[in-house]
């Protein structure tokens, strides 16, 4: 309880300090450069000055925090990748040569590529299918809500849930993992799913697909509802059947949204870490870049240089999406 009280007080203090900054800095600006009850020329001058300063009062904390937490680290990671394990002695490209020479890197790179292909595709596909079908049935909203639910579950929680699906008992013991129970029911032999090389990757990916399908579904469902009914009615009058309408009329109209969903999930996949950590910790050929990086940060006291190199690889993979996003945002703003 003592901790709860301290937590509560710190919470309130933190939030108040934040609010006080905004209130105080604005009041101060108004005090130094008053915009009222002064001769017109002075008001005009004061306003010109304070209008130039005020945006930066509003933006100040955000810019500072973004710089410290995201911008500076990107630059520093780049620097660290040329330094040794403590980040002090310069080692040139040796971290890079180590990385490109290591088996583990190729394994995690290959696995990351598998994740990148499989997860966004499967999640977007299921999302689109479910969005299309649930729009036509009366209990569609309940169905959507249930399929959306895994979004709220932590990766680690999801891992426990799925461990329970993939659980394996040898030989004649009753299986308590659902998947093996089904296999046995149909006369097959139970399998230790998460240790089967290569295929175990897919069993891990299914967990993320399970989580992300709801996200794809919600967004695609809104996009589908945004399609003007007239275009579909026109297609019906033109004699198109359901499948043709779906692929030739509906899907082309929501391409933009499908691309957004796809890239959002792709970014998430690049950062995926918790699931692998909890399910296998990279054993049995399931290593991915993010987990490898985390590993190197702490393994044997941590090797900052090697961790940073892996981080740089992840960053490089993200850059195309970043460029595409900025272009899209710019185009949108010009449209306004």
């Amino acid at each position: 309880m003592g901790q709860l009280a301290t937590a509560l007080v710190t919470m309130i203090l933190g939030v108040l300090a934040c609010a006080a900054y905004f209130y105080g800095s604005n009041a101060l600006l108004d005090l130094i450069f008053p915009g009222k009850n002064r001769p017109a020329s002075e008001i005009a001058r004061n306003l010109r000055i304070s209008n130039r300063i005020r945006p930066w009062l509003f933006l100040g904390p955000a810019v500072l925090i973004l710089t410290f937490y995201l911008f500076y680290p990107v630059v520093d990671s780049l620097r660290l990748s040329f330094f040794g394990r403590t980040g002090e002695e310069f080692v040139g490209l040796s971290n890079y040569t180590w990385l490109f020479g290591s088996e583990e890197f190729y394994e995690s790179f290959r696995n990351n590529m598998l994740w990148l292909i499989f997860v966004p595709t499967a999640a977007t596909f299921f999302g689109l299918v479910i969005a299309t079908m649930t729009d036509r049935i009366w209990w569609g909203n309940i169905a959507k809500s249930l399929i959306f639910m895994p979004m709220a579950i932590s990766f680690i929680g999801a891992s426990v849930i799925w461990k329970f699906i993939y659980d394996y008992r040898s030989g004649g013991d009753p299986q308590i993992g659902l998947l093996n129970a089904i296999v046995v029911f149909f006369g097959g032999d139970p399998q230790p799913w998460i240790t089967i090389p290569f295929w175990n990757n897919f069993f891990l990916m299914i967990i993320l697909v399970w989580i992300q399908t709801g996200f794809a579904m919600v967004i695609l469902s809104a996009a589908l509802r945004g399609i003007p009914d007239e275009t579909i009615e026109a297609a019906v009058l033109d004699g198109a059947n359901g499948v043709q309408i779906f692929f030739k009329i509906m899907v082309p109209q929501i391409w933009g949204t499908i691309a957004v969903v796809w890239t959002t999930i792709t970014i998430l996949v690049l950062k995926v870490f918790d699931i692998v950590l909890a399910m296998t910790n990279g054993q049995w050929g399931t290593q991915v870049l993010a987990n490898q990086m985390f590993d190197w940060m702490f393994r044997g006291g941590g090797d900052f240089g090697r961790g940073a190199v892996v981080a740089i690889v992840i960053m490089v993979l993200v850059i195309p999406i970043m460029v595409w996003n900025i272009k899209r945002a710019n185009a949108e703003m010009e449209g306004r």
Partner: protein
């Protein structure tokens, strides 16, 4: 929709397919929940889908120790019940792990040194001997019983108390609430400036925010950890503090917050803001009295996002908070259990369910806002 008039066969297929998918998507969670309220012996010997049926279990129970033996009619006797308080019906029993099913209930088994063991169907056992029995430990009785389904909250009691989950629940709250509110405040001001104030470099800043949106936060960990070490040393508080993790979550949440809120605030009608300006309101007044109340839906949806994200986060908590009891959050605790108690399903399932219950409540209660926020961020 026009297409749905194609006939009932197609409609039925759609209904069935959706039903199938919904079942596929909910079964894992349902399994977890059902498992977490089952008796721990049943949980580890039979699948959760059998929870409602009577299960046949092979169990072992140690009889009371010879110290409790009494003399009756010239015999030394130990009495008791293998089933304890629980219900069930014993079908077979035995006295060694090699022959656990040698005798049917009601029969009498001859053990070593003239000791006899009898176990009845209701679980009552009687060990009798003509001489006084020796030893401190009780006889082991192997038996097979038909056990009816048993549901219990014991698992929850155990994880909340002994496993320290209650404590980490509070730790999680301590991390989550400020890490949700602080970024909202900071982002809302920044979003207003980016949407409605004129200053040089605005376009560049917006592009920067969009760019930072996709920076993998793994990038930040090493440099930040180093900086935290230096700063912590300077203040003499160590690198792992709550303030540190609040600010870290704030930093990682800000790009999305600014992006979402800017989109929303820029979409507010410009004439309202101009009207307020004509009415004499300063930018600060406009923000406080017009923008904040009107942006409530967007603020709420980001709050839900950030809440779920922080509550469910493992990585940042592992890096910026310690592993001690005062700082371990629920996801971290769950991961510890996964490592140390991986075989104890009753502990894992109950813990997992406790960690996901708050996000699930938030999710189902505020789903409307969450969906609205998702759409504001993605669909134009």
């Amino acid at each position: 929709m026009v297409i749905s008039k194609k006939g009932s066969a197609l409609t039925a297929v759609v209904h069935l397919t959706v039903l199938f998918l919904v079942v596929m998507w909910t079964i894992p969670t349902a399994g977890l929940f059902i498992s977490s309220i089952r008796d721990k012996d049943q949980l580890s010997t039979s699948g959760w889908w059998t929870a409602l049926s009577t299960s046949e279990q092979r169990l072992v129970e140690r009889a009371a120790s010879p110290e409790s033996q009494t003399q009756e009619n010239g015999l030394w006797v130990i009495r008791g019940n293998v089933l304890g308080d629980s219900e069930g019906e014993v079908t077979r029993f035995g006295s060694s792990s090699l022959k656990p099913e040698d005798f049917a209930a009601g029969e009498t088994a001859e053990l070593r040194r003239g000791i006899r063991l009898q176990v009845m169907a209701n679980g009552d056992y009687e060990i009798s001997s003509e001489t006084e029995m020796q030893g401190r430990r009780g006889q082991r009785i192997f038996y097979t019983a038909e056990v009816p389904p048993r549901f219990t909250l014991d698992n929850y009691r155990e994880v909340l108390g002994a496993e320290g989950l209650g404590k980490s629940f509070i730790n999680s709250l301590t991390v989550t609430i400020p890490a949700t509110i602080i970024p909202i405040l900071i982002a809302a001001f920044a979003a207003y400036a980016l949407a409605w104030m004129k200053f040089p470099g605005r376009g560049l800043l917006i592009a920067a925010v969009v760019g930072l949106l996709v920076v993998p936060l793994q990038m930040s960990l090493i440099p930040l950890l180093k900086s935290y070490n230096v700063i912590g040393e300077f203040f003499g508080v160590g690198a792992k503090t709550y303030v540190g993790i609040w600010l870290a979550h704030t930093g990682f949440g800000l790009p999305l917050a600014i992006y979402l809120l800017r989109n929303y605030i820029a979409g507010l009608p410009g004439e309202i803001i101009e009207s307020a300006r004509v009415d004499g309101a300063s930018d600060f007044d406009i923000f406080r009295k017009i923008i904040l109340p009107l942006s409530f839906p967007a603020l709420a949806s980001f709050a839900i996002f950030q809440f779920l994200w922080v509550w469910n986060d493992l990585l940042i908590a592992m890096v910026f908070l310690g592993n001690n009891e005062d700082q371990l959050v629920m996801t971290g605790q769950l991961r510890e259990l996964l490592g140390s108690r991986g075989g104890n399903w009753e502990i894992l399932t109950a813990s997992a369910f406790i960690t996901i219950i708050i996000p699930l409540c938030v999710f189902f209660g505020l789903q409307r806002y969450l969906v609205r926020g998702l759409l504001a961020g993605s669909v134009k």
